[in-house]
Symmetry: C2
Subunit: 404 residues, 2 copies
């Protein structure tokens, strides 16, 4: 008997997590070994609470629009599944799986979601439950290991590089300008912040870039900023939200909403640029401005990378192609191009080998603690190629809306 497939979206959304969803859904609906295709609302909490929707009943046009819609069309969740199989969640998940004759589960998500995928895979195996589960990677942070880069990252840095160039142009118009400090996302790794370097290719790059991989030396930074300001009368500083002091503590220690730590215990770091701009202003007596790029970094579908959209879609397709005979694995992308050529192949890696590890930005790509090397440009440039074909109506993008 054919089994059905359920797909979940999990963790913070990206500009292309819905493209992966479309890849899964379209190829699952066309698959020979899959019966019905369900979407689980709000990640695995849909499995726990029996909230599945039949994807074959969705408007085809809306499925197509998923490729240019940010957010997570099925809803997302941050939920830390227990390791204790006697936990009621497992009983509820099993009950939903039996009710809908589920044989295949796909979790689209980042690091924490791969942890959940590993737990569920182990649970199914330990209890001889005939369900295969695969993870499909997504995260703007690009901090997963065993993958060339993560879907979502290319669009994020295309947005960041474009926006940094536009800000550089805007902030350069006065003879005597300010020190502008732009804060970029990236809790533990500097991948997103490094993306600002690409703005240089337009002729309008940032002046200083500070990543969390190198301890932030405030005195040095103030000296560098002062020197550049005296020379150019305006400075564009790009800083990761997660830069750390020499002692390993976050630069922005007085983070705003301590009590809002998420369920995985991650801190809310937003505000690093505010603190740094404040210090520049008070210590150097230079006019400042802080800009926190914030959510648009991960939800600006209108500026998504075509390459990223296609790869996210193909990761979803690969999951369906491989799930019949595999479980406990994550779809990965390997750059198999020879002689510096870029050519992605879709493969599987053990999901437990990915979960809970963080891929740092290579320290050897950081120059003098405030610049990024050309090696990074070579690595990241293929990821931002191509522009999205957005459908506009009334002068505004058309976004997908699923029936739930």
């Amino acid at each position: 008997m054919k089994k059905s497939c359920v797909v979940c979206q999990s963790g913070g959304p990206t500009a292309v997590i819905n493209s992966s969803l479309a890849g899964v859904v379209i190829s699952a609906l066309n698959s020979k070994f899959i019966d019905k295709v369900y979407g689980s609302l709000n990640g695995i909490s849909g499995l726990i609470n029996d909230k599945l929707i039949d994807m074959s009943l969705q408007d085809k046009m809306q499925i197509q629009l998923l490729l240019s819609t940010p957010g997570a069309a099925l809803g997302s969740v941050r939920y830390n599944l227990s390791n204790d199989y006697t936990n009621l969640d497992y009983k509820n998940i099993l009950s939903t799986i039996n009710k809908y004759n589920i044989g295949y589960v796909i979790l689209i998500g980042g690091n924490d979601s791969m942890d959940t995928t590993a737990k569920l895979a182990k649970f199914f195996k330990d209890n001889n439950i005939n369900v295969n589960i695969l993870g499909v990677p997504k995260t703007v942070d690009n901090d997963l290991i065993n993958i060339d880069h993560t879907p979502g990252y290319g669009s994020a840095i295309k947005y960041i590089a474009t926006t940094i160039a536009e800000i550089k142009i805007d902030t350069s118009v006065y003879e005597k300008g300010r020190v502008t400090v732009v804060e970029i996302m990236g809790r533990g790794a500097g991948w997103l912040t490094a993306g600002a370097k690409l703005a240089e290719l337009t002729g309008y790059g940032p002046d200083l870039i500070y990543l969390p991989e190198v301890p932030f030396n405030l005195e040095n930074a103030l000296m560098q900023i002062k020197e550049l300001y005296e020379k150019n009368k305006k400075v564009l500083v790009v800083v990761s939200e997660g830069i750390k002091n020499e002692d390993g503590s976050y630069f922005f220690e007085k983070y705003r909403y301590k009590e809002d730590n998420d369920v995985f215990g991650h801190m809310q770091l937003e505000g690093t640029a505010v603190v740094l701009a404040d210090i520049v202003h008070s210590k150097l007596n230079i006019p400042v401005r802080n800009i926190i790029l914030n959510l648009p970094q991960r939800c600006s579908s209108h500026l998504a990378s075509k390459t990223d959209i296609n790869e996210a879609f193909d990761c979803g397709v690969a999951a369906i192609n491989l799930i019949e005979n595999n479980t406990g694995k994550m779809v990965t992308m390997e750059n198999v191009g020879k002689n510096g050529k870029y050519e992605i192949e879709y493969k599987l890696v053990d999901v437990a080998s990915v979960a809970n590890f963080v891929k740092q930005f290579p320290k050897e790509w950081i120059i003098n603690g405030n610049d990024i090397s050309n090696e990074f440009i070579k690595y990241s440039l293929p990821l931002i190629q191509g522009e999205i074909e957005m459908t506009y109506e009334n002068g505004l993008p058309v976004f997908a809306k699923l029936n739930k």
Copy 2:
């Protein structure tokens, strides 16, 4: 003898002020009554300090790229010209005008720049100097009077509406979300903030919109936010940086850099969303996030409105077409369309009738102090129509660079 023309850019840049520059330069270079065409670097300070560049020597391709380049390619200035004709500035301006045989001056700018235009027009007239001067309007704020709308505004609200929709989608993914407070520019008028209403046309609009034209009642707002949060478990609040208390003081009184008031005495108001989000968090004990859209509102050329770009260009063309026989006037746009049709005609108005007045957002378009009426949608929708044809290279936009 034919006279030469000089063009200046002034005040805060927009996504399309360079399109107006292109309109002026291209039509001036083709004009029969104009000799040479100069660009004045950094607004009128180029006239004061003899810093003009010959626009005929610029690469034609770069002039074309101005249509999709943010910032002010000639550089800008905020400079409050004295009313006292014995001030050295007037002597220096005259000296530059004589040196380059200038007969025509065009100032592209906002309210303050129209004030400068009026002053210079009066100076030329009072002293029988044979120089005509016209203003070309630009400001994202849309707060000039005697004009249907200002070039720059359409692109800004196209960016704002798109970004608000994308943020709405992103912040809706969790069953239990936050109160997200988004801060929009607009020192004295709510035009830009109202633009967020257009996001509704995508199906993803904001929940509450607060404009500076109606006193901000914090207790009411907290009640409205609480009610919506209890119902939907997430709320998207859009707030103007300039909202005021009942007593007329700014809601965000503890503005960050008091000493950075610009030369016209305007305060830096950024931070309204931070303060409001803080209060929501501490009073209602709801998780919050604040997002300040900041400079990208005025420099996101990649999402500019085609209509806006064309109109900005045509305003520049109109200035050249009309400057031979006119002075002391501003190019204006009148919507002469009948029966709700949109049709712009380019005319002139007395620049003194524009300078130093502020066009408030109509109070009758504000509903219940927290929503915007369909009248506004009808008014603003034509302004965001059409998408920019951006040139991409390396996956990033190509921006103009003038030789200076």
